[in-house]
Amino acid sequence: MRKTVKLVIATSTVALLLGSMALVPKVASADEATLVTQGKKIAENRKEGNCFACHSYKGAYLPGNVGPPLVNIKTRFPDEAKLRAQIWDATKANPNTMMPPFGRHEILSNKEIDAVTAWVYTL
């Protein structure tokens, strides 16, 4: 168990680096649009992201209010990698946070987190 977690941490750091490098020349593409659609789906699935259990955002259905509304994300997170890091493990920034560590606890896979991040970045 611990081993897998470590492995996940290691691979995700790599993915994080690769991810942010790949993002440098950012062009909106059809792939990007699919990623955003996928991300929204994962985020709104109760058994996956379930983000609106705690966050409201434009168009959220009966959201909770444990977390702040997801708005102006690009202004809040000029660096998309920082946004991804918040979703991957919110306890890094705040050890007692309510936000589940989606990556660290393997609630979502790295690919799923990429998709969710892409979607959140549009909010």
Partner: protein
């Protein structure tokens, strides 16, 4: 998504327990309730017995309506019959009537925390009752009905949990306190995250109630449990369907965070109940109560 239950061993306790070196149960209790009193100046101390219904007026009106024909009435009557049938009164002080406020207590002889449910079970065994055959199991059904009857006879009595100045009792109390503040499960929430830090907030459609007063009304009659049981019986509801003990609820709150629930009456849950109930000392018992 992988739905993995993270074992309770894998919890992290990251500086969230108010780790005052000088903390005593008394000082913990003061700090615990001062937090709520400051946050909700309009809520009276005794109202904390009503959980989320103390916070939300609309829900309270709904609750009061369901109390006009209490769904647990038959369960209390059945519990009384069983209590008499098994001759349980000889095992308890005052014949078992009006004593729930003193539970859980620390038993000097065994060095363990004893809950009311534990004492009921021990008594049944002492009487030679075949609990398996009689389908008397912790958490629900006929067993919970006995506990509900005993709770009913204790209504209005103020919770009075004693932590004696015995290092073993203090250690059990501390273990319960750590459990309450430790993050656990795949979702990584502590009891305190939901019932202290984010009290009065909404997690999806659920209003998060205060931990203060949470132990006053057990076993409770939950609509959710009643529905679940009725579904199992092909839509027919029975008189004991909605009933469940406090530790049944603990299991539910552990599952919500995708942590493996512990066995009812395990040492860890009993210590949690010890800490959790002590925090509500002075609140009047009002069980069984209806909950959503």
């Amino acid at each position: 998504m992988k739905k993995l239950f993270i074992t309770l061993g894998a919890i992290s306790i990251m500086g969230i327990v108010p780790l005052l070196v000088t903390a005593t149960p008394q000082s913990d209790l003061q700090a615990f309730r001062t937090f709520y009193f400051k946050k909700f100046p309009g809520i009276k101390f005794q109202d904390y017995a009503n959980g989320i219904y103390a916070l939300d007026k609309n829900r309270r009106i709904e609750l009061q309506a369901s109390e006009e024909f209490p769904p647990y009435d038959d369960a209390v009557a059945i519990g009384k019959k069983l209590f008499n049938k098994y001759g349980l009164k000889s095992c308890f002080k005052r014949g078992g009537i009006g004593i729930k406020q003193n539970y859980p207590y620390f038993d000097k002889k065994t060095g363990k925390v004893r809950t009311l449910e534990k004492d009921i079970m021990t008594c049944l065994k002492e009487k030679g009752i075949n609990t398996k055959k009689e389908k008397l199991k912790y958490k629900k059904g006929k067993f919970a009905a006995i506990s509900a009857y005993m709770a009913y006879t204790s209504r209005g009595n103020k919770i009075n949990v004693v932590i004696p100045n015995d290092p073993r009792a203090l250690a059990d109390y501390e273990a319960g306190k750590r459990f309450f503040y430790a993050k656990r499960g795949q979702l990584n929430f502590s009891c305190a995250n939901c019932h202290v830090d984010n009290v009065d907030k909404m997690i999806r459609g659920n209003l998060l109630g205060p931990a203060l007063g949470q132990t006053s009304h057990w076993p409770a009659w939950r609509k959710k449990w009643a529905k679940k049981a009725a579904k199992k019986h092909g839509g027919n509801s029975g008189p004991l369907d909605g009933l469940g003990t406090l530790q049944r609820r603990y299991g539910g709150c552990n599952k919500q965070v995708r942590a493996k629930p512990l066995k009812a009456q395990s040492t860890a849950y009993n210590n949690l109940e010890y800490f959790h109930t002590y925090m509500s000392n002075g609140i009047k018992l009002n069980g069984p109560a209806v909950r959503q």
